[in-house]
Symmetry: C2
Subunit: 335 residues, 2 copies
C-alpha cells in the first residue's frame, strides 16, 4: 500500500521510557490501520511492555539495540560513539529509507545533531529548524526555530518562515498561515541587526503571508500562526512558556488548597478549570518536527506520555501523506 507509513519510535528515550513510548506505539497502531511502528531499544524491556497489550502483531516490530543515550550526555559525542543506541539505529533506518520517520523523547541535543548528521539536510536547506507548536488563546502557533543552531543568518530565517508556513498549512491545516517575525516593536525600523536584515527579505516573499513583526507580548494571544525567530530567542520563548505555565499552575493550586472554603470552591470549578488548563498543556499536542531534513525527525517532550507519542506518530503519517518535503523542495526551489 502506498500510504502505509513506517515510524520508528525510540523506545529508550525520555523520562518515561520504555513504558509510555511502547504504549503510545500500541495506541497508534490500534488507532490507524496504515501505521507500522518499529521500536528500537532493549528487546527484553520492550517485550515486557508489549505483553501488557493486545494489538496487531504484524505492525509492531522490535529492533534490538544494546546502547542508550542518556539525557545528560554531550550530544555530538553520544551520536558518534553510540552506534548501537536506540536513537542512532532509528535515525539510520530513516536515512536508509527503511522507515519514513522517527519519534524520540530522548536527549534533545542528540536528536538535533543526529538528525542533521545521519538523516541529512534536504539539498539547498542551509539549516534544519526545530518547530514545536505552542498553545495560544486562539489555538496553537508554530515556533520556528527553537533548536540548537543559534546565531542564524537572515537567509536561514527566510527558509524557516517558508518551511514553517508549509508545515502549518499542510499538517496543521491552517489556511494561508500568518507569518510574523519576533521583534521588540511593531515598526519595521525596530529590532536587532538580524531582524532588520530579515524583515525586508520576508516582505518580498510572495509565497508566505507575512504580517510583519510580532512582539513577545502578542504571542500568547495568537497574533500569528508561524512565529519566526533565531534559535536562541526561540528557545527562550519555548522554555519560558513552559516555566511560567508550571509556576502559574502551582500557584493556582496552592490558592485552591488554602483552606476548607477554597477546597470546596475548588471542587466546584475543578472540571471547568482542568479543561482550560489542558489547552495550555503541551503534552496534549504532538512533538516538534525538525524541518528541512530528508526524512522526518520528531522530538517530543522528555516527559511525554503515550498520548503525545501517539499524536506524534499520526503527525508523521500526515507529514508523509501531505508530501511536505516535496512541497518544501518545490516552494523553496530546491532540487
Amino acid at each position: 500500500m502506498s500510504d502505509r507509513i513506517r515510524v520508528v519510535v525510540d523506545a529508550m528515550g525520555g523520562d518515561n521510557a520504555p513504558g509510555e513510548l511502547v504504549r503510545g506505539a500500541v495506541q497508534a497502531v490500534q488507532g490507524r490501520e496504515n501505521i507500522s511502528v518499529i521500536l528500537t531499544g532493549k528487546k527484553t524491556a520492550i517485550e515486557q511492555e508489549l505483553a501488557k497489550y493486545s494489538y496487531p502483531k504484524d505492525r509492531i516490530e522490535i529492533v534490538h539495540c544494546e546502547e542508550v543515550i542518556d539525557t545528560a550526555e554531550p550530544p555530538v559525542n553520544a551520536i558518534r560513539s553510540k552506534k548501537d543506541s536506540s536513537l542512532v539505529v532509528g535515525l539510520q533506518m530513516v536515512r536508509k529509507g527503511e522507515a519514513d520517520a522517527i519519534v524520540s523523547a530522548g536527549n534533545s541535543g542528540a536528536i538535533l545533531v543526529g538528525g542533521q548528521a545521519i538523516v541529512g539536510r534536504i539539498r539547498g536547506i542551509e539549516r534544519p529548524a526545530l518547530a514545536p507548536i505552542i498553545p495560544t488563546a486562539e489555538g496553537v502557533s508554530l515556533l520556528i526555530d527553537s533548536g540548537a543552531n543559534v546565531d542564524a543568518r537572515a537567509a536561514h530565517l527566510v527558509q524557516f518562515a517558508k518551511m514553517g508556513s508549509i508545515y502549518m498549512e499542510h499538517v496543521l491545516g491552517v489556511k494561508r498561515p500568518k507569518v510574523g517575525i519576533v521583534n521588540i516593536g511593531a515598526e519595521e525600523e525596530k529590532g536587532n541587526a538580524l531582524v532588520k536584515e530579515t524583515f525586508p527579505l520576508l516582505k518580498e516573499c510572495t509565497d508566505i503571508n507575512f504580517i510583519g513583526s510580532v512582539e513577545a507580548r502578542e504571542i500568547p494571544s495568537g497574533a500569528c500562526d508561524v512565529i519566526v525567530c533565531e534559535a536562541f530567542t526561540g528557545n527562550v520563548i519555548l522554555k519560558l512558556y513552559e516555566g511560567l505555565g508550571a509556576v502559574f499552575m502551582e500557584k493556582i493550586k496552592g490558592s485552591l488548597m488554602k483552606n476548607l472554603q477554597t477546597k470546596i470552591g475548588a471542587a466546584l470549578i475543578k472540571s471547568s478549570l482542568k479543561e482550560t488548563l489542558k489547552t495550555f498543556d503541551s503534552s496534549e499536542y504532538e512533538g516538534a518536527p525538525l524541518l528541512g531534513l530528508k526524512g522526518l525527525v520528531v522530538k517530543t517532550h522528555g516527559s511525554s506520555k503515550a498520548r503525545e507519542v501517539e499524536n506524534s506518530i499520526y503527525q508523521c503519517e500526515l507529514f508523509k501523506k501531505q508530501k511536505i518535503n516535496e512541497i518544501i523542495k518545490e516552494n523553496l526551489k530546491l532540487n
Copy 2:
C-alpha cells in the same frame, strides 16, 4: 536636610495621565516626609487633579510644559523636537541637578533615548541598561537589560551584571544576589556567540555572585536574583511574561464564569486566588530603573496606576539614600 529627595513625576506620560500620576505623587508625599515631587506637564490639568486631595502643599510643585510626547511618537524625533514636553523638561531638571530622579509612564523609547541623551551616562559606563523586576515563585528577580539598545557586546553585559547586582543588593535588599546569564542550556559550552564570550568574563568577576547559566524555564521559579541578558532577549522575556500572564488570567476567569456551579466555586476561592494572582501582577511593584546614568530615570508601565507611581518614588528615595551611583562608580572602578 541632606536626605531630602526631589523627584520629578512626568504628569503627562502613560495611559492614566495625569490622574493616576498626580495621585501617586500625592500619596508619596503623604507617605514620607523627606520626599518632594515636581510634577511636569499642563498646569491646569494638574491643578484640577491636585484639587481633589489634601496634602503638604510645600512638597508638590508644578512646572508647566506646553508639549506632550505621545506613546506612538518616534523617540529620537520626539526628544529632539519637543523641548517643552513634560518628559524633556523633567529630564533636564535631573541633568542640572534640580531634581534627583524622574519617574515616567510615558513613551518607553523616548524615556530611554532621553535618559541617555539628556541625563547622560556615568563616565565609563558604555551603555545604560533598563532593569525591570519580574515576579517569580520566590519573590522577584531583576531583568537586565530589557531596554532599547540591542546587539550588546560582552563587555556591556559584564557591566549590566555588576550594576544589576548592586541595585538588587542595595535597593531591593537581597544579600549577595545570585547572578545568572540567560542561556539555552546549563553547560558553559552552550549558548550563542555573545553568551559564550560573556560567560568566562562573568566567571572572573569576584565582586558578583555569578551562578552560571540560567535557562528561561527556570526564570519563573526564581533561579537567580539578577538575570543578565542582551536587550532583545530581555525584551522578549519581559513581554512574554506580561502576555502569557494576561492570557492565563483571562482563561482562568473564563473557566470560573462557565456556569452556575463554577460561579459559586469562584466566589469561594475569589479572595485566595486574587491574593495569589496579585503576586504576579507587575503593577504591584515599582518601575524599572535605567541604570548607568548620572541621575536616576525610572520607567513605569504605561498602564501604571497611583500605587506603582508611589512605589517608584520610594524607589528613587532608596536609590539616593543608598548612594547607588557612588557604589557603581566605585565597584566598576569608574571615575
